[in-house]
Symmetry: C2
Subunit: 567 residues, 2 copies
């Protein structure tokens, strides 16, 4: 078989395969690449005598991130989804899922056993947290180091394919979270091969991925071809790009635009629904603006402002990045215009932030919205879900405002039944020094917010991971049943009621005072009472109410929500 690798500055590259080293020759067609024919499943590359290192594009790391790579034939899998063309992002509901804690087994195959729950819930797409190979067995996945390989403890590449195939069989799309802004601290051998990183930009994780300096063409191709690989070879329906604000790129064609163009090409070639969603802290509408209008043309971006506005309105929390939020006016502003920070002062950032969204031209579904997600839960000191803070009534109010919003709503696994299991930050680093640094870093981070060491779970403690696993006895228990039904009812109403998926931001109006808010969605009104005292409801037809006895023209009790159709 043929082995290829990019190593532009190397004088000599060999491939170690089948236990032997074979010389590689410079590619006659691709600048900086080396190529060789050799036999062997497990292989690595030796660069100027150093190595063997795993393949930067390794498809499989059965022996961990430091081990040899294993050849893998994408053509061998017996797909059954030949009729599948995908589901559009517009109008859909996402469900964020972490393979390692979705089930006790923590595998793709075990996750398949729970898909019927998602079908019954009514979501459109599963959003998988990163599955690229990362160090250790357990982890969130954001310190992946083999971006082309599927984490072997989850089930490896075949496991992912079985999962995707099973989702498609049930009408569920699958979105994959991919991390192109950094690599994890252990098992990253890219620097041995070429200029994958640059010191000219700094990210929270160190030197930035080299997108705009010498050698960056191949780094960009590494990213773009990786994205296409997931969509093409693993039949993924979409990608969620992690933290694109850390993709520093001063080129005339931004990597996000290049990536969106490439995915559009695949979309056109296959007729499949494919979409790309960016997690962004830029507050920049350009990401989802059409390329004809000077944007990058991504399908959606995460809307943290909506989360912060909703979370702080419900909980009253004002710490950290919540400090500019909390008023019902902030929530109303994000419902109307997606961004709260549209050029306004951000206390947390110490500067002005964001830019107004063109409400006439930008449909609301270009913003993914959530009441919870892995970060908003897991980045709290003890990983407590919002259900640990809110009353059952306010939990339902939160879900109601989310699922009737003009955005693309996303749930975080277990949110639908108010899971009592926390979702914590956990790692499984094998190097003692790195393990200690991660544990201490976590404690230190929260010490600055007044947390005592012993109250902050140790990420390296296996118990921290285990406590984060969903408890599947919960959804069928009576105390969870009501919230689960509420989510099902809301999603079903959203699907049956075109006013709720109408994504025109110019068509939304909002009325509110400091304790209640009414969202106008065409002839539909979503009335939410976040306060303790009842407020009066208008007349109309009741579509859904979060508590019994609510009637149009009557009272909306404290901490409840009603959805009405006006006559």
């Amino acid at each position: 078989m043929r082995y290829d690798v990019w190593a532009p500055d190397a004088a000599n590259v060999e491939v170690e395969a089948g236990g032997r080293r074979h010389a590689m020759a410079p590619s006659p067609v691709r600048r900086g690449w080396w190529t060789a024919e050799a036999e062997g499943e497990d292989y690595g590359f030796v660069v100027d005598g150093k190595g063997p290192f795993p393949d930067p594009r390794s498809p499989w790391q059965p022996d961990g991130v430091h081990g040899l790579s294993r050849a893998y034939d994408h053509g061998a899998f017996a797909w059954t989804d030949g009729a599948w063309r995908g589901r559009p992002l517009a109008g859909g509901v996402l469900y964020e899922l972490h393979v390692g804690t979705f089930t006790p087994e923590g595998t793709f195959d075990a996750a398949v056993e729970r898909l019927d729950h998602l079908v019954a819930l009514g979501v459109d797409a599963v959003e998988l947290m990163p599955v690229a190979a990362f160090p250790g067995r357990h982890g969130w996945g954001y310190d992946g180091v083999h971006l082309w390989a599927v984490h072997d403890p989850y089930g490896g590449p075949d496991g992912l394919k079985r999962f995707v195939d099973a989702c498609h069989a049930r009408g569920l799309a699958v979105v994959l979270d991919v991390v192109y802004n950094h690599l994890g601290p252990s098992g990253n051998y890219l620097g041995e091969y070429g200029p994958y990183f640059t010191d000219d930009h700094r990210t929270p994780w160190g030197p930035a991925v080299n997108l705009d300096r010498a050698g960056s063409d191949e780094v960009r191709a590494f990213i773009v071809e990786n994205a296409l690989m997931w969509l093409r070879d693993h039949h993924l329906d979409g990608l969620r790009l992690d933290a694109v604000h850390a993709l520093s790129d001063e080129r005339a064609v931004h990597i996000l635009e290049e990536l969106a163009v490439a995915v559009d090409g695949l979309r056109a070639a296959t007729g499949r629904e494919l979409f790309v969603v960016a997690e962004s802290d830029l507050g920049d509408p350009r990401l989802v603006t059409s390329r004809e209008a000077g944007g990058y043309g991504l399908d959606a971006q995460w809307n943290d402002d909506f989360h912060h506005a909703l979370h702080s309105a419900l909980t009253g929390e004002r710490q950290g990045y919540y400090c500019d939020f909390g008023s019902m006016g902030a929530l109303a502003k994000t419902l109307r215009g997606a961004f709260f920070h549209d050029g306004t002062w951000s206390t947390f950032r110490g500067r002005s932030h964001g830019r107004p969204v063109d409400r006439l031209r930008t449909p609301g579904h270009r913003f993914a919205a959530f009441l919870q997600n892995h970060d908003q839960v897991g980045n709290r000191a003890t990983g407590d879900r919002i259900s640990a803070t809110l009353s059952p009534g306010l939990l339902k109010v939160g879900a109601g405002l989310l699922l009737t919003s003009p955005f693309t709503p996303m749930l975080f696994m277990g949110e639908e039944w108010g899971a009592t299991t926390p979702w914590r930050f956990f790692t499984d680093h094998q190097e003692p020094e790195l393990a200690r640094a991660v544990s201490e870093g976590r404690r230190r981070e929260f010490a600055t917010h007044g947390w005592a060491s012993e109250d902050v779970p140790d990420p390296q403690d296996p118990e921290t991971y285990r406590r984060s696993v969903l408890d599947w006895t919960e959804p069928s228990r009576p105390e969870h049943r009501e919230l689960l039904d509420w989510h099902r009812d809301l999603i079903a109403l959203r699907r049956s009621c075109p006013e709720l998926t109408d994504a025109r931001l110019t068509e939304i109006d909002v009325e509110h005072d400091e304790s209640w808010i009414v969202v106008y969605r065409g002839s539909v009104r979503v009335a939410a009472n976040l306060g303790a005292d009842p407020v009066r409801l208008p007349d109309g037809e009741l579509l859904l109410a979060s508590a019994p006895g609510i009637r149009p023209g009557g009272e909306l009790p404290g901490e409840s929500l009603a959805i009405l159709r006006m006559d």
Copy 2:
């Protein structure tokens, strides 16, 4: 009088004025600012006991960059240009001028004495190299450290105003080169006051100016208000922004857009022609794309690709950044589409570069073009002008192709008569260590290109500066007269012939082989023969020819150019 300064992290700020220290109070209206009333012309600020340092917005540094600042009343100058409304950039010709070497005196007042030469030449606007206060007496000005002060050895703020007033009296606009991407290595006290710089981006000069991190609102205001100050208080007609590719800014509103919006505001408020031109190595049309179409809306950007294409076609040079240029096809491509690198591989950069210009929507005058400029001359080892390399015939061919181009042509002082004086890199650093570092750095830089130490002029040697001063006996000498007349004739033809200022890139066509090129400009043909052998001219009306005896339908001799109007 009132003193104000931004020092957001200081616990205590004092102003030293009139030889005494006065406490300052936090501003009640502007976050992080301090304010005090005190008397005294010369002043500085004491930040947490350190200082006094010069004012970051010092209007005048009569005692050098390290000295106290001096108060200056912009309202006191007796302007005579009340009727002046400016000249549009579109259709104009720029003339780049370095005050320190334009005349032996090196002052604004001495430069005024030479303005009639520029009027006779026919240019529209003088582009002043930076005049912000920089260390030492002589220098290019790109290591300025007091961005609000006019270099005192040039004549200080009143000197600049006299110069601008005199230009306006003669119908000349004045553009100022401003440097916002870094400060010089000596006399930069900004860091004593606040977070003006960030380590998150790196430039060739060190940490980047902080445009997008905490505290950046005031840094951006420092830049935008500085730009407005020049245009408003010094009556400048335009700004040339130095090296905007080193302005790293990941905000949703780029500083260039913010600046363009602010200048538009001043334009609307005053009815003056005002323009902003960016020097850019981004190859990005977005800079000059309208804001309605997602661009920044600057008026023009420098077109180095055209320079490289023209320079290498004329000289045959292929070293360094010329290596992808040299063919007549490259020149033809830049004439049609402004950029040569429109996404193509750049050997010098080690990556692909640029993006295509939308030729239908982008007028050619949005690109400033030149055969020479201060960098292209001064960054050569010995500062030799292109006239030292080219035959008189090819010099005229170069000028002809430049001044009939669809771009905004710019001449570098002395180019119009083929000045024999070089224009070298010179500095006047006072600190011995810095002076030595600059001298050695220059030698080292050129040693890598094979230059012997003794052949590279020492920037700190006063003779290096003196040799760079224009010799005003030259333009009236017979051996310079012909080239000067040629430039005057070309500029006059450009002004009288609408085809030549037609900036529609879609209307240009080019025919060429490897030694000649014909540029179609409406019914006008610019035929240039860069080779030695004669070529045949089409029939038509001769508008201008670079050598005697050239007739339509006859021969165009080697190294000559003719401009014809077709019947």
